[in-house]
């Protein structure tokens, strides 16, 4: 059997990602496990690029490796209790569970092999390609997200809102970080404007090239995380009232455009002809700000008082 170079690369990538996933979960030291998980995320971004999914590669690099990694590391720092063993049935008596999941994997693998090798089909790809010129954008992923399946994206923004409301309701913010030394301060001074400009660029270019609201929002959240790590406890976010407005901006934009479509064309979220591109940009801009504030607040971890807290104080009043 002749294996060509691409398949060899795919095999190596697949083995590496499995090894990283296994090592990250099997490691008894969780800090090591989290670091391996960050590497797992970066390799995953590489795999998305290999599978011709550049939007996903961008999102995975920022969110999957960057933001999730920062979130997990800050949880390790703040909550040593999360590392402790706990809960029922965690004493190795679950070997039969491992066997069951192995059996499940076997069945799924067999079904996939059957489907991919003997009955391949093309799904919705041709229908989407045919309808793409009318969608208002030329990036097919953006067209699917913001036009053909806009309702799903609307509900997803609502899910994000619910998650951040839960995080805010569960307690005060995590302890702040010490003010940055000269190296981190200097790096931040260069990186922050670059991050903001790149986020704006990704938002704009998402209409016709890989990019879009999610990647842009996540980059802005990364800028907020950088600010917080450099010692600014409010992470550059505006005051509590402005935060509330920004958090709901994405869902609100969807509802507003949807109702306008209902009044104009008779169906919720039905874009009027010719307006699709502008409306998509409007919704994406609002969604970018929402996603940025949502993910930044998720990293901050809870309610903050009105004044930036020093690392010593841990109690805070609702914002």
């Amino acid at each position: 059997m002749i294996i060509d170079a691409w398949l060899l690369l795919d095999l190596i990538l697949a083995l590496l990602v499995l090894a990283l996933g296994w090592a990250s979960l099997a490691s008894p030291d969780l800090k090591r496990g989290v670091t391996l998980f960050i590497a797992f995320g970066m390799l995953l971004a590489l795999i998305w690029a290999r599978l011709r999914a550049p939007d996903l590669a961008l999102a995975e690099a920022v969110i999957g490796a960057g933001l999730t990694g920062a979130l997990l590391l800050s949880a390790l720092r703040d909550d040593p209790g999360l590392e402790r063993p706990g809960g029922p049935g965690r004493d190795g008596s679950g070997w039969w569970l491992g066997l069951l999941t192995l059996a499940l994997a076997g069945v799924m693998g067999w079904a996939l092999t059957h489907a991919l090798v003997w009955h391949p089909n093309s799904g919705q790809a041709q229908a989407i390609a045919a309808a793409l010129p009318e969608s208002g954008v030329s990036n097919p992923v953006t067209a699917v997200l913001l036009n053909f399946r806009a309702y799903d994206t609307f509900l997803e923004l609502a899910v994000l809102l619910v998650a951040v409301l839960g995080i805010l309701a569960l307690g005060p913010a995590r302890p702040a970080y010490r003010p940055a030394g000269p190296v981190l301060a200097g790096l931040s001074r260069w990186l922050l404007p670059l991050l903001v400009v790149t986020a704006g660029y990704l938002l704009w270019v998402g209409a016709h090239a890989p990019g879009g609201a999610f990647q842009a929002g996540a980059l802005l959240a990364a800028a907020a995380v950088l600010l917080r790590l450099a010692g600014q406890a409010d992470a550059g976010l505006p005051g509590p009232a402005a935060r509330r407005w920004l958090l709901v901006a994405g869902v609100a934009a969807f509802i507003a455009v949807g109702l306008a479509g209902l009044l104009g064309s008779g169906a919720f979220l039905q874009y009027p002809a010719g307006w699709a591109g502008s409306l998509i940009l409007l919704i994406e801009s609002a969604a970018t700000l929402s996603i940025a504030v949502t993910l930044a607040l998720a990293f901050i971890g809870g309610r903050q008082s009105e004044i930036p807290v020093s690392p010593v104080e841990k109690e805070s009043t609702p914002c």
């Binding site: 990602v17 998305w48 011709r52 999914a53 979130l71 999360l82 999941t101 998720a298």
Partner: protein, 97 residues
């Protein structure tokens, strides 16, 4: 017979099972959160592998959009899980006092 789609689809299934086992059996809460993320990555890999149409053809954008949504939801769910875990440990420590 052996294609890129098949390789990554099977890897996705393997990651899903790996993460599922970790989510059920890992001793620490943070480890279980990690395992659910690994499991989610497996599902994403399965979707993207099924959307792949070869080095020349355009991939199917619908699974890509689903996975993009999934990545963002996964990070917010992870954040919520960590916040809940933190609160849970705090309540346990208060109960011990």
């Amino acid at each position: 017979m052996l294609s890129s789609s098949l390789i990554f689809a099977l890897t996705g299934v393997a990651l899903f099972a790996l993460g599922l086992r970790g989510a059920l059996l890992h001793p620490a809460l943070l480890g279980r959160v990690l395992a659910i993320n690994v499991s989610g990555a497996g599902v994403f890999m399965l979707l993207v592998a099924l959307a792949y149409r070869g080095p020349a053809g355009n991939p199917d954008p619908l699974p890509h959009a689903l996975v993009l949504t999934g990545i963002v939801v996964a990070v917010s769910a992870t954040a919520l899980a960590l916040a809940m875990g933190r609160r849970l440990r705090q309540l346990e420590e208060q109960a011990d006092d």
